[in-house]
Symmetry: C2
Subunit: 362 residues, 2 copies
Amino acid sequence: MAISERKKKILTAVVEEYIRTAEPVGSKAIAQIGSLKCSPATIRNELAELVSMGYLAQPHTSAGRVPTPMGYRLYVNELMDRQRLSEEEAEDLNRRLNQRLQDLDDSIGGVSRLASQLTDYPALALTRQAAVSAQRFDLIYVDANTFIIVITLSSNVARSKLVRLPISVDQELVQRLGTLFNASFTGKREEEITPLLIHSTERAADDTAGITAVITAFLLEQLHEAAEPATFLSGENMLLSQPEFRDPDKAHRLMSYLSEGGHILPPSAAAAGTDEVRVFIGPENVAEELKDSSVIVASFDAGDGTRGLIGVVGPTRMDYSAVAAKLSFLAAGLSRRLGGGEAPPEGMHNKLIIKEPDNSHE
Amino acid sequence: MAISERKKKILTAVVEEYIRTAEPVGSKAIAQIGSLKCSPATIRNELAELVSMGYLAQPHTSAGRVPTPMGYRLYVNELMDRQRLSEEEAEDLNRRLNQRLQDLDDSIGGVSRLASQLTDYPALALTRQAAVSAQRFDLIYVDANTFIIVITLSSNVARSKLVRLPISVDQELVQRLGTLFNASFTGKREEEITPLLIHSTERAADDTAGITAVITAFLLEQLHEAAEPATFLSGENMLLSQPEFRDPDKAHRLMSYLSEGGHILPPSAAAAGTDEVRVFIGPENVAEELKDSSVIVASFDAGDGTRGLIGVVGPTRMDYSAVAAKLSFLAAGLSRRLGGGEAPPEGMHNKLIIKEPDNSHE
DNA sequence: GTTGGCACTCTTTGCTTTCGAGTGCTAATA
DNA sequence: TATTAGCACTCGAAAGCAAAGAGTGCCAAC
């Protein structure tokens, strides 16, 4: 059955009122909202139909209506205003973003904090490198017992470590090792660095002191760490201010799940195109723990093939419109600052596409 | 009035039972615990006296007794067993500690996570450097538009950054800048790097492209960051499993306070001697938000004049004994691995001194 | 000094009642 | 035919109340 214009208006009113108040909304309240010029009775009839169509639900016979996940979905896809931030908001956000952003890697935590402060929901941020390898090795001789390893990764981040040795080395050895590592390990991804390769390098180095082992260990550690999607979560406490989490057990369950850092995002989220906002409503989430929460994610280009995601978690009764706008703006700002390639002009809002998750398997 | 042996036993029983059950404990329960061979009636008399002495309180006339902060204080100072970890626990902990620990700086967050998992309370870890300065600069020429800054700090941590320039530089310039920076900025603390010094270096560099500015900015940023006490908080969600935080508002208030990262520790905590455990019970905390929680902190030596603290936050009804033992062990382990100087033999428990905070100002 | 006994207090729990918001239905109306 | 007013009905939330139970304080006896 097609859904009439008036039904859409009513559904919108229910969703927005429910988002605002967290209370089931009744026919009278909708009539008063305006934008509809008909009586509560008429609205009641429409509401009854919306219930039978599956967009709304009643907690119990004599209560107002509450949107179902399906209702939210329709709202998100078709009904809601695509909010844009006001000039001041945009400016403020840009300023804060600039403050945080020197090097993504250090500030990915800062980004998630920012997202959380901005939206008043717990937020997470993560990056996933495409394929990381070492681009270049520099070994700096400091003194007889000390040298510094600097590994420049393909993502153009330099990682360094100061190594103190129990034995002494000379400048020549350090330099020779540097050349050797540049020859053997540059461009290699983590899985390409086989024990065999390590072993042969070790022999070639003619290094009895085990210094090569230290370097390869550091290399592997850095590659591993860089390849590992770095996840940050902040603002967990925001959950507690939501009435749906007044039940401490429920709150605890979700918070534990979140802080385990695990599979918060549905796999398909990672596949999202840049600057596109995705919304996962209640049961659309794969993780059992998220079945009655919603997740909104935006994806951004962190440069050099690295993909980043920022998202927030909240009750299904979330302010989708506002949150999506903010995340979209944030993601666009990040892409602009971090991403290579064509930067959209500063200050311009990027388009806000909201994609529905792929549910073909259901 | 002096406190009799029997009163001590009874107080101990009340505290431990209350820690276990979170319910006010009655005379009958104490009698059944054993270790006292007298009737509930006798115990009631003693309890009444303990109440009038201020060690215990009654939530209401017909309820059992609950320890007051003063009661906990006595318990912590004199009565509780100084637990030591069992062999297996110690071994497990050591293993996990080794896993986490390569470089304190990266893993301070890991340490707090470990403390939280270990104790089932929210945990925080922080380090405070004594006075950080740059020990050495290395500028590595990569290509005409790129070079790497490596700053080795006095704390023996190397920090690096890959710099891309809009203009091109030659190897000679990079090298010259390196020498210049080594001459001008090594050994300088953040506050010693005045605009004047920066300016004169800039002039000496004969650098029209503003490369010195990039380097000084990075230097200042790193010094600032290193001097800033790095705080990490984890396991906030553990709070919610404590019955005293079943009230979502209360939980929210404390969690917000904690996640702001602020002044969790009383100032005196920072002054604690290494490997010493301090306990701050309820109102002993200076922060208003912590007035009915307890904080346990252990201090460790992170090497090179850096002091670290690990601590947990929980309700006053905390398992002081177990937590103190674990933190003490953890701190000792960290000191051993990170601290310079005399390392106590591996696997040995360090002594567990529990210091009372200095309350002379009250 | 210790103990058993007992009346008393105060919370907790469960039940019943009341109240009200909101519904669904029907009949009247534009 | 679509809308509206009216009204009886439902069901949860809040309030009130009684019974139960845990624990105390005190007294008198040991």
